[in-house]
């Protein structure tokens, strides 16, 4: 991978993705394969929004490759509360750590941060923008379950504000995927994302009813309707509770359908799906650790695996 930073999935080529996934598979089998290359290296965890999986899996991944983490803590307990700019925050933290994992409520925050520091910045979610490391573990999970070529993928839920959706759709353009987007009209893909997909020649269709496409799918990627992203509570209430699936819904799907979700879920996947062979979302969350180990090994590495991580931070979104 030839990038200084990981800001969006759009900067990832198929070769980049497969390199990380292959490395992740190796590390899942043998976590000690990284050796002591990352001893004494520190990763800063800067989460301006709440997070469980992303933060803990980066923390775990860094420690599993022999390094350690420093945590900015909550916004309420940091200098951000005093009005410090993001640019100043990351410039200070650059002096403490060898890389920065940044989650922020504003779109473009990771890109901005990358312009002020020399250490690698990993976008761990920027508002409704992008979440590229989630996409890598999503692809890892898909590859394990269904392969990555000649796939029919349904992506359902909050397509407007869903950053995991934006990143995943972008990355899938590297593969021979047919994409079906299922959402209420008010939560359709934003114009910029649709622009990129068309620009990449993606095969995509948009639906309001899952039944129009369910039987064709290899993968159904469900997302939560994110109450916290809605500027208007009324707008949220109009769509809340729609697009739920349960075991009965999946009787109309293929037996080998894989159901994924970036989690947390609320009510969009009923608990009775958990016991079916379709459910892949907990394995998907667990895959965050080896995938992020591979990613950190690549971006922070100065040994063999990281030798290519030195040149271009270009973000081709």
């Amino acid at each position: 991978m030839r990038h200084d930073h990981l800001l969006s999935a759009g900067q990832l080529t198929r070769e980049d993705i497969e390199a990380v996934l292959d490395r992740a598979a190796d590390l899942a089998d043998d976590p000690g394969a990284v050796g002591g290359r990352h001893a004494d290296r520190l990763l800063a965890l800067c989460f301006f929004e709440p997070s469980t999986r992303t933060k803990m899996s980066f923390d775990t991944a860094m420690k599993r490759i022999g390094g350690d983490t420093v945590d900015m803590g909550s916004v309420e307990s940091s200098s951000v509360k005093k009005g410090e700019s993001l640019a100043d925050t990351v410039r200070v933290i650059e002096g403490y750590a060898d890389g920065i994992v940044l989650r922020h409520p504003s779109e473009g925050a990771a890109k901005l941060a990358s312009q002020f520091v020399d250490v690698p910045v990993i976008n761990a979610g920027d508002g409704a923008g992008q979440h590229p490391s989630q996409t890598l573990l999503d692809l890892y999970t898909m590859r394990e379950r269904a392969g990555l070529d000649d796939l029919t993928v349904g992506i359902m839920g909050d397509l407007k504000y869903g950053r995991t959706v934006h990143s995943l759709a972008s990355a899938l353009t590297n593969f021979d995927a047919r994409m079906h987007f299922v959402s209420p009209e008010s939560l359709r893909l934003p114009r910029g994302v649709r622009f990129d997909l068309h620009d990449a020649g993606a095969q995509l269709r948009e639906h309001t009813d899952l039944d129009e496409v369910l039987a064709e799918l290899d993968v159904l990627y469900v997302t939560r309707i994110q109450r916290e992203r809605f500027p208007d509570e009324n707008e949220y209430q109009q769509v809340a509770g729609q697009y739920q699936i349960d075991a009965g819904t999946l009787e109309r799907a293929r037996d080998d359908l894989t159901v994924m979700h970036p989690l947390p879920r609320v009510d969009e996947i009923a608990p009775d799906v958990d016991a079916t062979d379709h459910a892949a979302y907990f394995a998907q969350a667990h895959n965050g650790v080896p995938v992020r180990m591979a990613l950190l090994d690549e971006l922070l590495g100065d040994g063999d695996a990281g030798a290519a991580a030195a040149t271009d931070g270009g973000d081709s979104r």
Partner: protein, 156 residues
């Protein structure tokens, strides 16, 4: 004979400076904003707005005395006035005609309409937009602006 000469007389000729013609109707003030001309610089500025045009239906015309536009300034005009023509005038004669070409990107000129874009937070960074086929795109959040680009000028 058309009544064009009368209209020409409404905006007097200039000795030295720049005449920007064929501006999209109603965009003259935004063009001045792009050029950073607010009216208190002491230079003469003549504006014709929504005058009839065979080519555009209606058009705006701006004449700026004592100032010759750079190619960079001319290029950003293309975002608001893709049909504009720019004439450099010296001693009442047109000595140079500049082509309006779309730039690859514009920096610090527009504000992003996405209120949640980091460039709208209080951060020490200039906005940056790439120019796409039929609009501009924020390099930070990916927001695309196609219509009413003039509404998003940062230099108003």
């Amino acid at each position: 004979m058309s009544d064009a000469p009368d209209r020409e007389l409404r905006i007097s000729k200039i000795r030295d400076g720049t005449v920007i013609d064929h501006i999209t109707g109603g965009q003259a003030l935004n063009v001045l904003a792009i050029l950073g001309i607010g009216g208190d610089e002491g230079i003469g500025v003549s504006i014709g707005m929504n005058v009839p045009s065979d080519k555009l239906g209606t058009k705006d015309v701006v004449k700026v005395e004592g100032r010759e536009l750079s190619q960079g300034e001319v290029d950003v005009l293309s975002l608001l006035a893709p049909e504009a023509t720019v004439n450099i005038v010296r001693e009442f004669e047109v000595v140079e005609k500049k082509r309006v070409e779309r730039p690859e990107r514009v920096v610090g000129l527009l504000t992003c309409p996405n209120h949640n874009c980091i460039t709208n937070a209080d951060e020490p960074v200039e906005s940056a937009f790439g120019v796409v086929d039929d609009g501009v795109r924020c390099e930070f959040c990916g927001e695309i602006v196609r219509e009413d680009i003039g509404d998003h000028l940062a230099v108003h």
